[in-house]
């Protein structure tokens, strides 16, 4: 299997704060890797760094064989990286429809066709498509964020807690959709989740972060929930 996204020996953070500490992580073609860890352990930071939204102090990021360490975020999006952020994930003062259109900023041609698929997945969005995204409920926003990212027709997906805020039935739908996209288009996915059971059911490999470092990297079959909980107890990043 070829490596699609490789973070090697990354040190990165926000302003003067270092969060990721000499972290390496690889996503291979056709793979779903789930990143788990306690709150504040740096999971979101891994995804943001892959997307180019943090300050990288050392290390390299390779995307499809190309060094993108210094490529700005919009360049990575053009290169096929799709990202669903954990927070601030919609354009609050634009309508749902405009949000979706922004998702397809790089793919204006296929928008009409693809947006119907998103509506089929999340009928609620179709009902509320004229509403301002900032007025949506928490779960509706999450749907919008996921839908917008799918419209980008990415070749690699970074998902930050896609199931949180969602109703159980919708969580199932989202996981089905992820599995479907993955299978149908064989898109590799880096998935951050707190819903450990679901994540493990979907992923091929688990990576656990403890305080910005990788504490475990193993195929799903080799980990048990008990070990994971022990790692979670270890807590978040010490930044002070």
């Amino acid at each position: 299997m070829t490596d699609v996204l490789t973070l090697s020996r990354l040190t990165a953070g926000y302003g003067p704060i270092t969060v990721l500490d000499d972290l390496s992580l690889t996503l291979r073609a056709g793979e779903i890797v789930t990143v788990l860890g306690a709150n504040g352990s740096g999971k979101s930071t891994v995804l943001k760094t892959a997307m180019g939204l943090t300050r990288v102090r050392a290390g390299t990021i390779m995307l499809g064989g190309r060094d993108v360490t210094h490529l700005p975020a919009h360049g990575r999006a053009s290169a096929g990286l799709g990202y669903v952020p954990q927070t601030r994930n919609v354009f609050g003062d634009m309508s749902v429809a405009d949000n979706l259109r922004m998702g397809a900023y790089l793919r204006p041609k296929t928008f009409e066709r693809e947006v119907e698929k998103v509506f089929a997945l999340f009928p609620r969005l179709k009902e509320r498509r004229r509403a301002l995204a900032g007025n949506l409920s928490g779960g509706e926003r999450r749907m919008l964020a996921i839908g917008s990212t799918l419209l980008l027709e990415p070749s690699v997906l970074l998902l930050d807690e896609p199931s949180s805020d969602l109703a159980p039935a919708t969580v199932d739908l989202v996981f089905e959709a992820i599995a479907d996209v993955h299978k149908r288009l064989s898109i590799p996915i880096l998935l951050v989740e707190q819903n450990v059971a679901k994540a493990l059911a979907l992923a091929n490999r688990v990576c656990v972060l403890v305080r910005g470092r990788e504490a475990l990297d193993a195929p799903v079959g080799e980990v048990n929930t008990h070990d994971l909980h022990a790692l979670f107890l270890d807590g978040g990043v010490h930044t002070s």
Binding site: A38, N39, R124, N135, G138, D165, A167, Q194, F232, S240
Partner: protein, 251 residues
């Protein structure tokens, strides 16, 4: 007893809540569940005094709560958290916690200059409470960090901490477990049981059904702004309408 009677809310032409009634007795945990956009957060905002309902009433122990005046509702002992955490990002975690406490002597300008002793005593008392609470939430090591630098889950915990500092009689919690790791969720559940034992009223919005089942005495289910069911968690799980609209296929 917290009572919500026939509350309706609409935004422009959009009806977010339609004649919803529920009650939450003291020393109990009352769950609210429902599909996304069914109006749960809206209901909570009505109770908290943020939104003014088109019709209906909210009473606490028989006294009506003020609409549109969240500070009065909060002062009446009703505390809440937000689905998206709200914090003073450029104050430290510790300062945020300190600010949570109510009725501080040092918040009166006259006390500040005329009764410095009382102010200092009050600060000390609150500080020790804040320290204890931070330890309990596992945030002690973050006490001197800016609240804005916490991760999403940590921020959720901190808002919970601030709420507890206020020692409210009623707690309105909007998805406290979303984004929180499984270990902390267990701790939170334990915390909720303690709060219940202390005789408080807890209103809990959650999508985490495990948590709902673990802690709730009674659950109300909303769908498209309407109350479609209520009962114990077990009854709810068995309700066909709820399964269809909310739970989906049994996982």
């Amino acid at each position: 007893m917290l009572r919500v009677r026939d509350v309706s809310v609409s935004f422009g032409g959009f009806r977010a809540l339609n004649a919803v009634s529920l009650e939450a007795p003291p020393a109990s945990i009352t769950g609210i569940i429902g599909p996304n956009g069914s109006g749960k957060s809206t209901l909570l905002n009505v109770v908290a005094g943020v939104y003014v309902p088109d019709s209906g009433a909210v009473t606490l122990n028989g006294h009506p709560l003020a609409y549109g005046r969240p500070e009065q509702v909060a002062a009446a002992g009703v505390g809440r958290t937000f689905q998206v955490p709200r914090l003073a990002h450029k104050l430290t975690v510790f300062q945020n916690m300190m600010a949570g406490a109510r009725d501080q002597a040092g918040e009166g300008v006259f006390n500040l200059f005329l009764r410095p002793g009382a102010v200092a005593r009050c600060e000390k008392e609150i500080a020790s409470r804040a320290e204890a609470m931070l330890k309990r939430l596992g945030l002690a090591h973050k006490a001197n960090d800016y609240a804005g630098s916490l991760s999403g889950g940590q921020q959720k915990l901190l808002t919970m901490g601030m709420l507890l500092m206020a020692d409210p009689a009623v707690l309105l919690l909007d998805e406290p477990a979303a984004g929180v790791n499984p270990v902390l969720i267990e701790q939170q559940a334990a915390l909720l049981h303690e709060l219940k034992a202390e005789g408080r009223i807890v209103l809990l919005i959650e999508h985490n059904m495990e948590m709902i089942a673990n802690v709730c005495d009674r659950v109300f289910v909303l769908d498209a702004g309407e109350l479609i069911a209520s009962g114990t968690p077990a009854q709810i799980r068995a309700d066909e309408r709820v399964v269809r609209s909310y739970l989906g296929m049994p996982a």
